[in-house]
């Protein structure tokens, strides 16, 4: 019994550590996959339209979380660095920060209902209402 409990705890921990982040997009988005550099360009707002000239809307998560940390680690930029980039754009009249959402459920709802939008959630929460452009491994 003890062995069973130990194995179960180990497996739970193992699968949690392997949790992936899914970069999701509205079904109207004209691409089915995305590379890291393009994702960075959309999130730092260097590029703000898709290749069909439709605007890109990006979403962020409001509160600190494992998924948020993993997403920004993948981009190679800390959340504070991103805030600094967005604030510079806002104060220069060049753009504004993305809408920060309260939860992954809200992220899913917003991305599925906003044309041209992208966001990120844990892979296990992704549904068929959105496209998955890339899955980020935790390692």
């Amino acid at each position: 019994m003890k062995v069973f409990i130990i194995i179960t705890v180990f497996l739970l921990h193992f699968f949690q550590a392997q949790a992936q982040v899914a970069v999701i997009a509205n079904k109207s988005v004209p691409v089915d996959e995305i590379d890291k550099s393009a994702l960075i360009d959309y999130y730092v707002r260097d590029i703000w339209v898709w290749n069909n000239n439709e605007p890109v809307t990006v979403f962020d998560l409001k509160t600190k979380s494992d998924i948020k940390d993993k997403f920004y680690n993948f981009l190679g930029k800390s959340p504070s660095r991103m805030k600094s980039i967005w604030m510079k754009q806002m104060l220069s009249g060049e753009g504004k920060p993305p809408e920060a959402l309260a939860s992954e459920n809200e992220m899913l709802e917003k991305v599925s209902s906003t044309t041209g939008s992208i966001g990120f959630i844990s892979s296990s929460n992704a549904t068929s209402d959105v496209k998955i452009l890339i899955e980020i491994n935790s390692d």
Partner: protein, 399 residues
Amino acid sequence: MRKCLIIWIHLILILTITISQGQSREKPLSIFGYFQNSFFHETGYTHWIESQSAYNSFNLQQLNLFLQKDISSGWRAFVDFQFLNTFSSARRWGSFNIEEAWIRYRLNEKFTLKLGLQIPIFNHLNEIKNRTPLLPYVVRPLVYETSFSEFIAVDEYTPTSAFVQAYGFILLKNIKLDYAAYVGNSPNISWQDPNRQFESQQTGIDTTDTILLGGRVGIRIGEFKAGLSSTIDYVNFFEGARDFIDAPPSRFSEIPRIRFGGDLSYHIWKLSLWAELIKLTYDDDIPNVSINKFFYYATMAYRIGDDALVYINYMKTEEDITELTVSGEGDPTSFQLIQLLTGRQNVHVPSCGFSYTLFDRLAFKAQFAPVKLKGNVETLDLEFDINFNYYALAISVFF
């Protein structure tokens, strides 16, 4: 008749609905801004040039109010009002400026056109020098710090405004090649002087037929950014010396002023590095006159957690100085030259500081800067060396 009336009513209803739908497609007007309140203490100094007692002061260092509206697809209007140094028209201190009022058309990342009063792109800090929420400093790098204007000719080092600017970047795999090119006024702007009794001229306009031309080219690779900037315009500052220096009068007018700038920034892990240099040259051909200048700074910062930043930085200006001392009364053409002083002044400021951000919109800042002014007056064979310390605290709020 009744049928016509019904048709008219329908037409009016359809028109009203169409107009209101059109208006609902417009984005609302955004109003936002920031301010920075500071407290500083400056230690005194005593020198043969002048003495200054220690003093300290609270100050509303800066308040900027922005209006922004997207007026159509790709078109944005932006206005920036700036209040400095606890502005009060009743008490006659501080200043109020319309810092920016422009409209921007963005075609794509390769091309954006900005028309109207704007702060042009020059080096790294010029565009954002007054955006206090973006900067960890209380005392900004010297040529961007208006409170040091009594020591340093801050308005000369960088272009303060332009009126037409095109900018963007070209993407080559993972490399971004930035460019900006702009046009503006020369610095010879007509201003309101109650003593200038014989001139009645529109103020705020360029009094010459020359213009400012400038631009920047740069490269970005990941978190590495570097660039070169340059401007040229033509100044009439020297015309006042025409009657006192033995040189053809034509040499004193519309002298080319050339700025060269370089900037570098890099972010890695929790470290950030920013550095700039600016060389300012007046291409005059006037004997014994030089007011060329040089400036550089470097800042290294380390982020502690998400909200705190510590930094050290070093800044230096090197300026050639030329001053004319004249005497006389009444008609300026009768004034006599007493002496022409030439020399050099260097300002060194190593500093360190700290900033802490509370919930994104509120930042606390602290900075210590020992200031050293060193120089000489060549024509009098005199040297000066003035030292004082500057302690500053600030709170920066973004709303």
